[in-house]
Amino acid sequence: MINARVTVTLKNGVLDPQGKAIEGALGALGFDGIGQIRQGKVFDLQIETADKTKAEADLKAMCEKLLANTVIENYAISIA
């Protein structure tokens, strides 16, 4: 069993209105000195295999085909 985490984030230059709203809300709570906030997504996956190389290749394909929209998003894969 392989545990993997995929993190999907917006590419630089893509407007993130949700991040902006969170930034404003944190400011309203009195947290000072916050630069930019960008909101993203985290996927935790369990893959039934011992083959780490295959799992990595599969995860990359999953990101390209579904988990990320590569027009606007980047992804990062980490395997425990």
Partner: protein, 223 residues
């Protein structure tokens, strides 16, 4: 002209679309269910609005990867006209049939109101019943209609005349780059748009500015 309307779980504007197509072409469209991969022989396939598969992950992302969409993609490649409205537009960009992406509205709010559209390219299969530069009324109802494309893609679609509808001055409801409301693919047979022309086709709707789009796509005289 024969037409078809795609029905997927969570889409809810199919009834309105069927009514518009029936009234304007005089013929009821056939329907295509989510499990169908043998698409009937039609001239126009319409993907209506709604919230397909709960819009989980990203709007239109799950629908775009269903086998029915692969079959529709093949039809589009063969030259069949495809129209995607609202969630239909989101599905078309997620499926890669149209460039760019549709993001959360800049206001973060769901917008449901009437806006104005400028017909910036009246020389397409979906807009020829309008005059170039004509301003038409059209309703919008969406949470994720903020059109985005990178600078290179944007330049390409602008240069090739792929922007068909723009929100008229001061009416951009979602922050879309270049006020883009509707685009066609390079070949010109696939149109995606956020506004709902099917909801402005008769007096009972309060106007008929949306008829021209269907008259164009169905090749009938606009009334």
């Amino acid at each position: 002209m024969k037409s078809a309307v795609v029905q997927l779980p969570g889409l809810n504007r199919d009834r309105d679309m069927i009514a518009a197509l029936t009234k304007i072409s005089g013929k009821a469209p056939v329907t295509i269910w989510q499990t169908e991969t043998d698409i009937p022989d039609v001239d126009l396939i319409v993907i209506p609005g709604g919230f397909s598969y709960g819009d989980y992950l990203r709007c239109g992302a799950i629908a775009a990867r269903m086998p029915v969409m692969q079959a529709i993609k093949a039809k589009a490649e063969a030259g069949v006209k495809v129209l995607g409205v609202c969630n239909g537009f989101q599905i078309l960009v997620e499926a890669g049939l149209l460039p760019g992406a549709l993001m959360r509205n800049a206001s973060l709010k769901f917008v449901c109101k009437e806006i104005k559209l400028e017909v910036v390219n009246a020389n397409t299969d979906f807009s020829r019943a309008y005059e170039q530069g004509q301003i038409i009324r059209c309703p919008v109802a969406h949470h994720d209609g903020n059109y985005f494309a990178d600078a290179e893609t944007l330049k390409a679609i602008e240069d090739k005349g792929q922007v068909v509808f723009r929100y008229a001055a001061g009416t951009n409801p979602n922050g879309s780059v270049n006020d883009i409301a509707g685009i066609v693919n390079e070949k010109g047979n696939v149109l995606g748009m956020m506004p709902h022309p099917e909801n402005l086709i008769e007096a009972a709707h309060g106007g008929s500015d949306g008829r021209g789009l269907f008259a164009s796509a169905l090749d009938v005289i606009a009334a």
